[in-house]
């Protein structure tokens, strides 16, 4: 007896998987953040100070703020800045920009100068608190830049000496502003006004902050990939991945027939869920991570292979098709869980110890193991069981058996 209800449910699930995958995977895929090695960019690790002096959290925050402002003036989208132990700061910038100039700019020191009308340097970036910001004037409502100095006495003596004269502010040897000193300022807080627009006020504030690098930094390591190099690597890996998936699909159908086809459908769901996880959690995809995913497909298939070999064993023992599928799945589950747990342990340790590439790989490995347990085990089990119970196929040949109608005795 063919059980049409179960068969219909089976087909609805399969059609739904295809519909969701085909309609949304492209949009999801474009949302995955790509690592430097796939879209070009660079990462740098800086040591703040000389590595011996002890730095407080606020020292680090001030340095990060200054670096952040420098990056903002570069106009790079989605920079990543992280403070690491031992007074280190790592920065990753992705995308197309002049990498050589950007790195030069990031680590350059004291390139903010305040000069007298005669060109004498009065103060540098070290004298400025890196919290310059845009505000609107309390009296006129016009945009202005608020700026504070670390040594109010020094600033007071300068503003007294140069009252009614222009002090110019230079960044990287370019003059960015030359405000007129209206009155001596004693409190250490000054405003530059009026600014032509909110935007120009913010830009000026950014540049002043960027110049106010409180500690010297030096580069410990750097890594850069050109955008064309990154893109060619991405395309090559995707192409290779597509071929690999196609071969595995065919292999599974040839080796395991109908269950193989179901494993392929589960694999499709596996790839889709992984894309969704990466896009949803905004996990950065790196080159080694991409390789881990393609490898993960192979490992996800393993769960199905273990199950189907068990089902074949049960068929050989003369059980009926349905009880073979049920018993095979039950016995395979423990093996699959144990073997995946050990790989998961390796992945977690890699994540804990790794940096950069290794960590990208570990994230992809952990994600692929968890997702493969969901799809290759539970989804694939459910639809295989539904299909078997629908009783459409009774010939065990379709399940990799010898070809007699099992259980008909």
């Amino acid at each position: 007896m063919v059980k049409w209800g179960r068969l219909t449910t089976f087909f609805i699930i399969v059609v739904m998987i295809f519909a969701v995958v085909l309609s949304t995977s492209r949009t999801l895929y474009t949302k995955i953040p790509l690592g430097l090695d796939l879209q070009g960019g660079f990462s740098v690790l800086y040591q703040v100070g000389n590595g011996k002096q002890s730095l407080t959290t606020s020292d680090m925050t001030a340095t990060v703020a200054a670096l952040q402002s420098r990056i903002n003036t570069l106009g790079v989208s989605e920079p990543s800045i992280a403070v690491q132990n031992g007074g280190r700061i790592s920065i990753s910038l992705a995308g197309k920009f002049n990498q050589v100039a950007a790195r030069q700019f990031l680590s350059s020191q004291a390139n903010l100068e305040f000069k007298s009308p005669t060109g004498q340097v009065l103060m540098t970036g070290k004298d400025v608190v890196s919290n310059a910001h845009y505000q609107s004037s309390t009296t006129t409502g016009q945009p202005e830049v608020a700026i504070s100095f670390k040594n109010p006495a020094l600033f007071a003596s300068i503003t007294t000496k140069y009252v009614n004269q222009r002090i110019s502010i230079w960044f990287d040897n370019k003059m960015i502003s030359d405000p007129n000193i209206q009155t001596p300022i004693t409190g250490g807080n000054a405003t530059i006004s009026p600014m032509s627009s909110v935007q120009s006020a913010m830009q000026l504030a950014n540049l002043i902050n960027a110049g106010a690098l409180p500690f010297p930094i030096h580069q410990l390591s750097s890594n850069s990939v050109g955008p064309t190099l990154g893109q060619s690597a991405l395309h090559a890996t995707l192409f290779a991945g597509a071929i690999a998936v196609a071969i595995i699909f065919i292999f599974m159908i040839v080796m395991y027939r109908l269950p193989g086809l179901i494993a392929d459908i589960a694999l499709l769901a596996y790839s889709y869920v992984l894309i969704a996880v990466f896009a949803g959690l905004q996990v950065t995809l790196t080159l080694t991570g991409l390789a881990a995913l393609v490898l993960g497909i192979g490992m996800a298939v393993d769960a199905n292979i273990i199950t189907y070999e068990r089902i074949k064993d049960e068929l050989r023992n003369g059980k009926s098709l349905q009880s073979s599928v049920i018993a095979g799945q039950r016995k395979a589950l423990r093996t699959i869980l144990d073997s995946n747990m050990t790989t998961l342990i390796a992945g977690i340790v890699m994540y804990g110890y790794g940096t950069g590439d290794v960590r990208g790989f570990a994230v992809a490995l952990i994600a692929s193991i968890i997702v493969s347990l969901m799809t290759a085990v539970f989804l694939s089990r459910t639809i295989l069981l539904l299909f078997t119970k629908s009783n459409v196929v009774r010939n065990t040949w379709y399940f990799g058996g010898k070809g007699k109608v099992a259980g008909a005795r």
Binding site: D37, L45, Q99, V100, Q104, L220, S221, S222, N223, S224, V225, G226, T228, L229, S232, A233, A236, T237, A240, G241, I243, A244, I247, I248, F251, M252, L287, T288, A291, A292, V294, L295, I297, G298, V301, D302, I305, I306, E309, K312, K331, T335, D338, S339, M341, T342, T343, I345, A346, G347, V349, M350, Y353, G354, T355, D357, V358, F361, A362, L365
Partner: protein
């Protein structure tokens, strides 16, 4: 007739032992070809997209004032159209700019800018230490898990196979003078994960068969494990085939930057599949067999 694996275990121990010994000698004689991830200095990875001779590359570098040591250039990539250049000193921003122009002029098909990496000695040292720690700590946790889920002997036999695979990959890289960088560590760690995964499936079958069997003598144990190996043989082969399909296509079409990474995977996967069958299970039999032999044979009372 079925090939008896366990009874021939001495031959497999001999085979793996000699490979490991050869690897050890190679490592001691030549050492590893460390990339800048582990050694201070700069590394430039240039995808040239055309055949080249290293003299031409050396020439370009020398012209912009960047001398390369005698073994500083390694060919890489699918058709050896990529050059990995290692400099024993860090390259400056200014030199980088000049080099980009010079490379594009000499090799019009190349992808410019190339990949640059520069590492301070302190960082290089830290990275190599963490890599070794990662393998050791991962092994320790795996031993604990397997010891709890199975038994201690299974755990140690699995770890021996795992270290054997990691070591073979490292030896092959030392022998072929392939650059060892951070992705290589990721590859070794994957192999570690795969190797133990593959072994556990076989151990699981041995554990299951042990439940329904009364083992009195060593031959009993040998037969049981041999049966378990052959019961899981189709799975062992089919699984390694699918993973190899993936690694092979990545090796040939996955692009030059991951070429070496995939090569490490290929070697490790083959070794991992081999060691699960021919090393891990026989070690367990040899060890478990000794405890069998210790029990005095009591005459069977009829």
């Amino acid at each position: 007739m079925r090939f008896a694996i366990i009874q021939r275990r001495k031959w497999f121990f001999l085979l793996s032992g000699s490979i490991t010994l050869a690897g050890l000698i190679v490592m001691l004689l030549f050492g590893l070809n460390l990339g800048t991830d582990f050694k201070s200095g700069s590394q430039v990875e240039i995808v040239l997209n055309q055949p080249y001779n290293s003299a031409a590359v050396r020439n370009v570098f020398t012209k912009v004032g960047l001398p390369i040591g005698p073994t500083g250039i390694t060919a890489a990539g699918t058709n050896n159209t990529m050059a990995v250049v290692r400099l024993s000193y860090p390259i400056t921003n200014l030199q980088e700019g000049k080099l980009n122009t010079a490379i594009k002029a000499a090799f019009p098909k190349s992808l410019v800018p190339p990949g640059y990496s520069t590492v301070d000695p302190i960082i290089a040292q830290e990275q190599s230490q963490t890599a070794v720690w990662a393998v050791l700590v991962a092994s320790l946790f795996i031993v604990i898990y397997v010891a709890i889920r199975f038994e201690f002997r299974f755990a140690l036999a699995g770890i021996v196979a795992l270290l054997h695979d990691a070591f073979i990959v490292i030896s092959v890289f030392a022998l072929l003078r392939i650059v060892v960088d951070l992705p290589f560590i990721a590859a070794v760690l994957t192999i570690v994960g795969y190797s133990i995964n593959d072994t556990i499936v076989i151990f699981d079958r041995i554990r299951e068969n042990l439940k329904n069997a009364k083992i009195k003598t060593l031959p009993d144990l040998e037969t049981l494990v041999d049966n378990s190996l052959w019961q899981t043989m189709a799975r062992s082969i089919n699984t390694v085939l699918t993973v190899l399909f993936a690694a092979t296509t990545l090796y040939f079409f996955g692009g030059d930057p991951i070429h070496n990474f995939c090569f490490a995977l290929l070697v490790g996967l083959v070794s991992g599949a081999y060691s699960s069958i021919f090393i891990a299970s026989p070690i367990w039999v040899a060890w478990r067999g000794r405890s069998l032999a210790k029990q005095p044979k009591r005459p069977v009372q009829a």
